[in-house]
Amino acid sequence: MQCLTATQYETHRLTDFLFKFLVIGSAGAGKSCLLHQFIENKFKQDSNHTIGVEFGSRVVNVAGKTVKLQIWDTAGQERFRSVTRSYYRGAAGALLVYDITSRETYNALTNWLTDARTLASPNIIIILCGNKKDLDADREVTFLEASRFAQENELMFLETSALTGENVEEGFLKCELDPERMGSGIQYGDASLRQLRQPRGTPAQNKQQCNC
């Protein structure tokens, strides 16, 4: 046990950045499956629904820097949102997931977005994720409609499939590829780099005000 902890500690030391990442969205949109696919590269067949919050982490390499993604996978049911809310704090990015075969999950996006915008850092990077791309025949939300929504709300958008793994990696890595916009979720790392990554147009003062 101690040995494992030691190696974990080592990994910590070696990563340049630590990102807190959140996966949110309505129940049954496929959040846990996306996370599982991203971490294990496998589709989770008989997955249990998430109760409360689950956790996963993966170290990725972005532009020569190692970044540790600390991903919190949240429960989707409406009444669990009170549980989910305490996890927004300090999140650098959020994967906002809906199910392209269920308009209901799409309609709930605005609520989720409100939570994310209000509770997380204002610089949080939100990626809209239309999951279950493989079920194109049952599609209820068109790509166009969702991308328009994303544009209106300044979100990045892509459609993924946790089953085939399509776009899953991209979804999680998209915010890292945009270092300009890295939020305040960086917990430690290279100080000079962090300064560089101060989000544009958001002076520190402003940030404080928004947080209070």
């Binding site: 500690y9 600390q70 009170s82 209106e152 709300n153």
Partner: protein, 739 residues
Amino acid sequence: MASRSSELLEIDMLMDVCGGVSGDESGFVNPALPDGFSAFQRWRATTDRGGAGDDVSPLSDTSSKPPSLSSPSPSSLSSKRPVPADSDSVVLFDDHTTTGGGGRASSIVDCLLVELYDAYGGGRRGGYVDSPDSSTEASSSDAFLGRSNTGSHLLQELQERHTRRHQMNYLAQKAPEELGSIIQEVKYRTSLQSAKLLRQLKRRDRLHHKLQKNCDIITACLQAVSPKRRVDTRLKFSIEPSLGKNGFQQEWRKRVWLTLADRYLHSISIDWEKTLRFAFNERSNPDDDSLGIQIVKDLHRTGCSFYCGQEGEQDRVVLKRVLLAYARWNKAVGYCQGFNVLAALILEVTEGSEGDALKVMIFLIDKVLPENYFANNLQALSVDMAVFRDLLRVKLPRLSQHLHHLQKAANKEWFLTMFATCLPPQTVLKIWDSVFFEGSEVLLRVALAIWHRLGERIEYCRSADDFYSTMRCLAQEMLEHSLINSSNLMQEVYSMAVFPFPQLAELREKYTYNITPFPTSVKSNGSGGLGSWGSDEDADMDDEDSVVTGGFGCLGPLGGLLAPDLQKYQKQLKDQVDMAELSPWAVEDGVSGGRRKENPVAVNSMMMERMSTDIGALKRQYARIKRRQQQQAMQLCIRTDKCPATNVLASQLNSSSPVVNHLLLGRKTRPAPRTPRVSAPGGPGLPGTVIESDCSATAATGSGAVPLFSPFPCVKQPRRSTAARNLGLYGPTSRTPAV
């Protein structure tokens, strides 16, 4: 362990039998007698190499056994006859003067052994396997009688001396050579008996295996003719009673749960038949759709493999009907993710009976667990989490400190599924039995006991990241590898404190009280419809924050200016709690029983007093809040100018605008009945009334500010007001800074 002890028992028995057969004083000594036995082994190895080849492997398999068998034999032997064994000499011969000198006899013995064993082995192989009562064992004692070397002759003579003194006399007369041959004979017989014992053990194993196989065949037959429902797949034929293995037997568990549930239903005078008809109605009710969608989504991911795939279809239907029935029964609670896990386990206990399962579920959720455990944004659960953190701090201070350091939120999953997803089913059932009998506090106790066990491994974790990885490992181990021994766990659960848990009721009350200082205003906000969860989400935000701050005292972005006050307030509150808790815990005798109750009440009433008298402070506080709100509104106005106007914002504005000013406006609609729950003793000191009278004057200004609010502050506003309310209501004036 059980099989082990039964094995030992068996050996004891065999010993007795053998001893009886070969005469009381046959010189049958400890089978572990090292040199004798190993000599026999050596001999066995050489002889078997030639003839009885198929016997070699089983015997060498078991050759490691005898040392472990030695433990029971001394007792069984010494109780029968005074022959405590020594490795080299038989102590029976107290005064024996001889040593060794048996070289002559050994060769004869060996020859005889070979002869005897071959004949013996051959006969055995014939009809052994299927005749458990073969005469081989019985006849083996005759083998001793037929022996005609000096050793056996002398031994027989020795046996004829019945008393110990006579035997001693007899031996004293013997020459050293004769004694040597006696020893040789004794050793020989010992090794022979050991071999026999091994054979018996092997035979027992074989028969056991055969029995198992036959049982399996019957099981297979039974399953083949069964209707192949889920319960049938677990059907197993056995001739052993399963009583006592699983807490109490399944049948009894079912009966007890149902009795308790029935008693509850009786107490609320329910027409059960009618309820059943309504709950399991085949036609769909108007609100079934909204209830049903999530249920159907979760059915296949209940966590047990029974509910997956094609063959789980039948079970899924049953599960769905039960969940829907409960949702129809209690619309306020409806369906909460996690119910499926609970219902699945209940269905297993009630053996698939839907009506019984519903009964138990109603009893469990409506009666046993605290109100709002699953409803109203899991309010009672949040309270229990906060309570649990307090308990953890008292019971396991070091771990609590460490968890605090890791910023670990308490594990809600444990409580939400009542451990059904994190412990093996048998343990979970035991816990549930206990919950049904003792109430929901058992959950807290179990959680404490689990942390107690995991503590050591958690302490190695240095970061939150570490912690989560470790926890995942531990969770796996708990679920699959019985990291936690269920009986030990339950023992700790019962021994950690008296029932009911000291201070628990007070703590729960305190946190319920603390988390929602204005449950009434919460209700009025959500008055649009209780069924829609979105409506009281904003009120819930208050809850969340106070839970977080109450638990950790870490405020994060809660608010620059208010943070220090709040922290101070929290700290003070905690100190109070500590005092209240520690004193009764330190002294556990009967005398302190009175004090135990007294202390928190005193604290409560003190706080009440403070609240009702500090109207001046409240007014100041309120003015401050108002000013801040206006400031904030201005800022946000500026900010929203930058934001693109989108449909999100519009919809938000619509949905949450009534909440913005709930501090200022929402009080008109507040229904009265909820208030008594919040306040403890002092009627006039109700926090609600104080504020109401205070703010009615300023309500107009508040409403004027509404249109200015953008969606962002909408949700934030109540937070600050909570903080302010907390401060204003509970904090003494000295600590509220003047604005």
